[in-house]
Amino acid sequence: MGSVGAKDVPQLIGPDGLRIDGRRVDELRPLRIVAGALHRADGSAFVEWGANKVMAAVYGPREVHPRHLQQNNKAIVQCRYNMAAFSVDERKRPGLDRRSQEISKVIAEAFESVIFAEEYPRTSIDIYIEVLQANAGTRCAGLVAASVALADAGIPMVDLLPAVAVGKVGGHIVLDLKKEEDNFGEADLPMALVPQSGRLVLLQMEGHMNREELSTALDLGVKGCRQIYDRMKQALRERYAVDPTPSSAAPMEAGS
């Protein structure tokens, strides 16, 4: 990021304090979550978050495939984060690269810390995250999608895992970076929160922030996570709506 000359950096925060897409510094991009978007998987979710589109599928608990990976006291959590070749402007070379390996690993570890893996010894819980369209914050979108998919798959866990990135852009601490802010901003701090306990189970940082900025960023991120948490719960409630209220069901029955 340091290599970009100051003059080349677009103005990311306007004089009115709004960002290039008109958001306030503490505002999320529009978020849409669909639980149970796929049929074959044990659980699935689709997330549209700004211009990100991410699909997540969960299989398991199921037999571990290379047998030697099996652990006889708990389930293993495996994750594959993958970006589609068409997900970014320049065609991405398909397949595993260092970046997706790292993201797969940190996401798997984040989920390991919330899943009650001891309930299913010698099995594997497999999480597949496919990024169909990327616009910064895909690991967070992937986490959100995977977490909803895990709940949809009936996997026992401490809590859902909302995630969001906070960054430093044009000297301001801002919530939920979009691509330009990520590329030209000063720092990017993705995090995932366990709302039940308030613990962070994923925290990475790229760029530079000082101590106060980091502290502000964490507070802002936790607030953002709580908003996302509500949306995740809403998506799951829509999918598993217990019978409609008697008043709305009754006329339909009378008609039938």
């Binding site: 009936g154 799951l236 069901a249």
Partner: protein
């Protein structure tokens, strides 16, 4: 934590009980607090600092002295005495490994079959891909699932076709006292074996099988609604098969044999007709 605080008054209740009289069913998501009322944490819950939280997505069921969360989704979790439909995934010298849609494969030992088999002859009885109706005997503490094929209504499933539905919806497929499965069998002239693991084995006339599949899809989609049995009965009764299924198949169905009249397959299974329809009764009785 939203609506998770409404008190649960249904002292008794079964997983996937029928949608009637469920105005106080409480849906909880992982991490949401479960109204405990002094009860202890049961399955599907965990306790932190004296508060009880749900660990799975499901419905709150107070079962004194425990409060549990009955999952609404997820894989089949085996229970002893469940009839399940397994698919052979591996053949060994003395046993087969069955995929019963559970977290683990279930070994079916040759001593658990009605056949007299010599070592190494297992593949002459069941091959990879075959479907069998088996009963869960026990879950060992290693997590190994023991199954047996000895028992009424158990055995290799030949012919017919498999359908799947979420295991949480199986009680609705069966219906109150078996009412749902009986009306489906009668209206379609099909034999149906219901596996508690969400697999259904259907055999009968082609149109009947298609109709059963549609009925299952209806149950899957509307499983949470009230009056489901009536709705399905209405669906089964409303459309003569030939009209309804013309759109599924190109040629009209005149040249097909008319579906067997329902009397041939009374819900209890025709005597000597098949060993399996009895089996479809057993899970029904479980429900009561």
């Amino acid at each position: 934590m939203g609506s998770g605080h409404r008190p649960g008054r249904r002292g008794r209740g079964r997983e996937g009980r029928f949608p009637h009289s469920n105005s106080d069913r409480i849906l909880v998501l992982p991490g949401e607090e479960v109204p405990a009322h002094g009860l202890k944490p049961g399955t599907g819950t965990y306790r932190v600092d004296g508060r009880i939280y749900a660990s799975v997505l499901g419905l709150v069921q107070p079962r004194p002295p425990f409060v549990r969360v009955a999952p609404l989704s997820g894989r089949y979790i085996p229970k002893p005495h469940d009839t399940v439909i397994g698919i052979v995934t591996d053949v060994q010298g003395t046993f087969w490994l069955l995929d019963i849609a559970a977290p683990r494969w279930a070994p079916l030992h040759m001593t658990g079959t009605p056949w007299k088999i010599d070592f190494g002859e297992t593949d002459q009885y069941l091959r990879v891909g075959d479907a069998v109706a088996v009963s869960v005997e026990q879950i060992e503490n290693t997590g190994r699932i023991g199954v047996t094929m000895i028992g009424e209504g158990l055995g290799k499933l030949e012919g017919g076709t498999l359908a799947t539905i979420s295991p949480a919806k199986i009680p609705r497929v069966i219906g109150k006292g078996g009412s749902m499965i009986q009306s489906i069998q009668q209206a379609t002239g099909c034999r149906i074996v219901v596996g508690q693991n969400g697999r259904l084995w259907i055999d009968g006339p082609d149109e009947g099988i298609l109709k059963v599949r549609e009925a299952i899809r209806l149950i899957e989609q509307e499983g949470q609604r009230r009056g489901l049995t009536e709705r399905v009965q209405q669906f089964l009764g409303e459309s003569p098969r030939s009209e309804r299924f013309d759109r599924h198949e190109g040629p009209p169905l005149e040249d097909r044999e008319p579906p067997a009249p329902p009397e041939e397959f009374p819900p209890g299974g025709g005597p000597g007709r098949d060993p399996f329809s009895d089996d479809s009764d057993s899970p029904e009785q479980d429900v009561n």
